[in-house]
């Protein structure tokens, strides 16, 4: 099989991967530009098995999108609504009045965390992307670190990887001008890591970004991870155009999706996990991705709004038994984990 990788013109990268050597920028670009998905996947699978053996993780989890009111209104998002919009919603914490909430907005988030902990004290709350946390710090008039400390005291357990999009300023200017910058995103993540919080990282691919911009994004994450070691998982997110301002763009194909998983696995040599998020790429491809670099398929999810509003076609929930079957049928060992990758049960 190594012959096949060499025949695809990736023999030198194979040597690096086998030696555990770090890939350079140009290697990343070449992997992205190769159409030989089997060769790229084979490389990623070597790295995947080195990091995670035959294990494939999943989690019994639930997503809650507490509000769709958003000041950023990114062009690639079909979920966010202006607060005047008829479709805007916000889940109330004990019927806090709208006017009061505006003035005490920051308190709302702390109350929400405490409220969840009251109902389920043992539950781990992974919440608020780096973008939301920067926004909360502004609302509170406090530093990011101070804000994070207060959120942790109220019950925050870890931070999901959203809002990273593509770090390139060119892309952010054209798609989400009002959003926190890439540098800002990384600063929040690193501040959280320094407080002992773990977080994930994402990349929203398949819109107007170039291959080089993707590799730059991965390189920035790799550098931050060298510094703090606080990232658990990288999750490539496939852009879903329907109902967004970029609706004229085509959906990502299976090849795009697998390539983003595989290249990330080869390039991010300091990330323990790569996730194939089945809600975005469908359960079929997520299963196959377990051989193309991914070691995690996310979880039961139960409720998902953001991808579905943008035309995502995978169901909103999956039984754990079905996840286990898919993993096993792909020749991997199903491992149920918690948010921080502590093993709950090996199946």
């Amino acid at each position: 099989m190594e012959q096949m990788v060499a025949a695809a013109g990736l023999g030198d990268i194979l040597e690096k991967v086998k030696a555990g050597e770090r890939l350079g920028f140009a290697d990343g670009v070449r992997l992205y530009k190769s159409n030989d998905i089997l060769a790229v996947g084979y490389l990623a699978n070597l790295v995947r098995e080195r990091f995670n053996g035959n294990r494939a993780y999943f989690i019994y989890n639930q997503h809650i999108n507490y509000s769709n009111i958003c000041t950023n209104l990114c062009k690639f998002c079909a979920f966010g609504k202006d607060k005047e919009s008829a479709q805007a919603y916000e889940m109330t914490v004990e019927q806090v009045k709208a006017k009061v909430r505006e003035r005490l907005a920051y308190q709302y988030y702390l109350d929400m965390l405490r409220g969840i902990k009251e109902v389920r004290p043992e539950i781990h709350i992974q919440a608020f992307t780096c973008v939301e946390i920067a926004h909360l710090a502004t609302l509170a008039g406090k530093s990011v670190t101070e804000t994070l400390k207060e959120l942790v005291a109220a019950g925050l357990g870890s931070i999901p990887g959203g809002g990273a999009e593509v770090f390139s300023p060119r892309i952010r200017k054209r798609t989400c001008e009002k959003k926190l910058s890439g540098e800002g995103w990384l600063e929040v993540a690193k501040a959280a890591h320094r407080l002992g919080l773990k977080s994930n990282a994402t990349m929203l691919y398949g819109h107007i970004e170039t291959v080089e911009e993707r590799v730059e994004h991965l390189a920035a994450l790799r550098e931050a991870q060298d510094e703090t070691g606080g990232f658990l998982t990288f999750i490539p997110l496939a852009f879903h155009p329907k109902n967004t301002e970029l609706h004229e763009l085509a959906k990502t194909t299976g090849l795009d999706d697998l390539k983003n998983i595989a290249v990330a696995r080869c390039f991010l040599d300091n990330f323990p996990h790569i996730k194939a998020y089945w809600v975005m790429i469908g359960p079929k491809l997520a299963q196959v991705a377990l051989s193309f670099g991914a070691d995690d398929v996310d979880g039961t999810v139960k409720e998902e709004l953001i991808t579905h509003m943008a035309g995502g076609e995978a169901g909103g929930a999956m039984a754990d038994t079905e996840l286990i079957r898919l993993i096993r049928d792909a020749g991997r060992q199903p491992v149920e984990r918690d948010t921080l990758y502590n093993v709950i049960r090996e199946h």
């Binding site: 099989m1 096949m4 089997l38 996947g41 194909t253 999706d257 079929k284 196959v288 051989s291």
Partner: protein, 351 residues
Amino acid sequence: MDLQRITEKGLAGERLTADEGLVLLEKGDLYQLGFLANAIRRRKHPEPVVTYVVDRNINYTDICISACKFCAFFKAPEDPAGSVLSFAELGEKIEETKALGGTQILLQGGLHPDKPLEFYEEMLRFIKGHGIHIHGFSPPEVCHFASLSGLPVLEVLIRLQQAGLDSIPGGGAEILCDRVRRETAPRKGLTDAWLGVMEEAHGLGMRTTATMMFGHLETYAERIEHLARVRALQDKTGGFTAFIPWPFQPDNTALAHLPKTTAFAYLKMLAISRIFLDNIDNIQASWVTQGPKIAQLSLFFGANDFGSTMIEENVVAAAGVGFRLSEQEIRALVEGAGCVPRQRRMDYSLV
């Protein structure tokens, strides 16, 4: 038996035995199978071209006496919901197909209890009046017409051909192993009957495809037996243009309790088909059961053809699978895989 040696045989273009095929299916990993199938596909088709046909599946009736356990489409003869398409409806569907650049129709229906052979001849002549290639009547239908009319299969085929039938689709093959056929579709013809119709048709100069519906009650050995039977007939006649393996879709069928074949298992079976069937030129991806993402990936696991655009499809849809793709989407998927999409006809000549 050593996987490495089998792989080398495959790469060298040597024919695999049934035992070797079985070892590959049982023990080959995704990359071994993918790399080998892809190499064979490239040897057979050095140009990075992926073909597809623009057509429509027309099911002239859903009334069927066969009652196969894996089917969610049929209506029993006593069920008032069953129907037969009128010629007017047929005509409309054909004109729509032609307007969309269609070159053929796939005409298949249930085994209707009492329509005489003349009914089908008339239907063929009517369709032929619209000037379109008719890819129609799978072997179980032909056998059914033969038994209702009391005529031999060869004579039925000659009459259908004279009335306008151009080629025969490979449906109804399911698994070409009598044990499986008796358990899943006891009223349908056995293996030799299916192969017999194809052999006679090839003898009359009609090209046909072959299918395999896997992932229900069959064993791995029985899947290989299926491939071996198809390969043996192809050695004899050379009449098969393509092979189409697709996984059983259990929803709404009598076998709904069975787990659905996963994408991983599909890709492996597809690759084995490409590797084992060394005398069949084309392998089709089943996007209608697998969806666009896995179908695109199929192009790296042995498939060189995207099958049909299926302007209309009813049978798989009845089993709860809803993938739809336009010609434009198919072309984009092919291009995204670094290949060139080309519209073809049934015989694989390019349009």
